[in-house]
């Protein structure tokens, strides 16, 4: 039930946004992310955007996976996993 899906804000109208989910478009409330702007990526749960996503952080995560688990990965105990911190 806590499912949330990323999508891109393609237009804004009175606090609501039209969000593109890989080709499927839906109206989404921005009441919980008042700073979200057009072209931002948002995480959407039950019709509301609940967080703005940074594509560069997704890219960073994927890069970390490749570094840790890729062919020439080192020791994960001392490796890049330790960079993932709150």
């Amino acid at each position: 039930m806590c499912l949330a899906v990323p999508g891109k804000i393609i237009s804004l109208k009175n606090g609501d946004a039209e969000v593109d989910f890989n080709g499927v478009k839906r109206a989404v409330s921005l009441d919980l992310v008042p700073d979200a702007r057009k072209n931002d990526y948002v995480l959407v749960h039950a019709g509301f955007a609940i967080q703005v996503l940074e594509p560069k952080e997704a890219e960073e995560t994927l890069k970390l996976f490749e570094e840790i688990y890729g062919k020439d990965h080192g020791d994960a105990l001392s490796g890049p996993l330790s960079h993932i911190k709150p």
Binding site: M1, G23, L53, G70
Partner: protein, 376 residues
Amino acid sequence: MKNSPAAQRFSSPLWRDRALAASALSEIERLSAVAAQKTGGQVNFMEVCGTHTMAIAASGMRRLLPKGLRMLSGPGCPVCVTSQGDIDRVLALAAVPGAIITTFGDMMKVKGSRGLDLNSMRERGADIRVVYSPLDAVAIAAAGPGRQVVFIGVGFETTAPVIAGAVARAKKAGLKNFSSTAFFKLVPPALELLLSDPENRIHGFMLPGHVSAIIGTEPYRFVAEKYRVPCVITGFEPLDILTGINMLLKQVVSGKPSVEDEYFRAVRKGGNPAAVNIMAEVFSVCAASWRAIGTVKATGLEFSKAYASFDAVKRFRIPYCDAPEPKGCLCGKILLGKALPPDCPLFGKACSPSSAVGPCMVSSEGACAAWFKYGN
């Protein structure tokens, strides 16, 4: 969005890459052997969130994990933790003459103590509609002011702000015919419940990504500091989950529990303050009744004084009656990580998704439904 490189980062096949997953699994194998020495043989981690339970089951990774490492499903499926007494209240609301009941689909098949569910109430003529968003329910109320519209609000900190947002909109629009239940539960106090149990044998928590997108990382600090149990907030892609397990193992091995954030592309330290604020405006912390656990103070949310008129239970004067849980059903133990679905004598026999006895089989993200569907 399909052609945009930024979008591809969120839907990249790399999140499910086989070679990387195989390498992640061998790392788990290696680390869990070391961690097992620290824990005395068996390593038990709990995925608290039902969405993780489903993602783990659907990926098939459970059977690839080393034998000494067990992933237990926690009390994070909203339908599963809703007490039988609250389920009976949902069914009582569905019996209010002329009311339109709106709900997420997961609630439709949960049986009350008299064997009825929302599906069977609908067959008997009740107007029950499955909606995607509580805003759809507000729109139904706005379009037909002559009828009462009730939204069945259950869930955790991911869903509570969304329903708070819908209620705030209904208030702003001056809607007199919209109300909701507030059968909400809070994740950090649920963890404290598990941890304060003397029989607790959980060595690490895979924390819910989307609850944490709202509340941030700080509310979990007590788990690591007071109870010395490792925590990793984790995303929902297969590689997120395998990495979350590796990070938990690493904490067990190092003996230095902390709250780490693997899902930092969505979870910030401070969470989402706007969502937390609206949740605190519309709801206030209260005692909540949990399936198999009972009523525990300060573990749930109810309507605040300012929004009390939107409380469906008060508007239609629906009393709370304690009701027994289904006989022989082990949902309670499963929710607490004390049993796995196949331990239940009803599992796969008297209880299956087509004729479910307990809510862990009813809910699509319940631990029993996940085990049944994906054959873990």
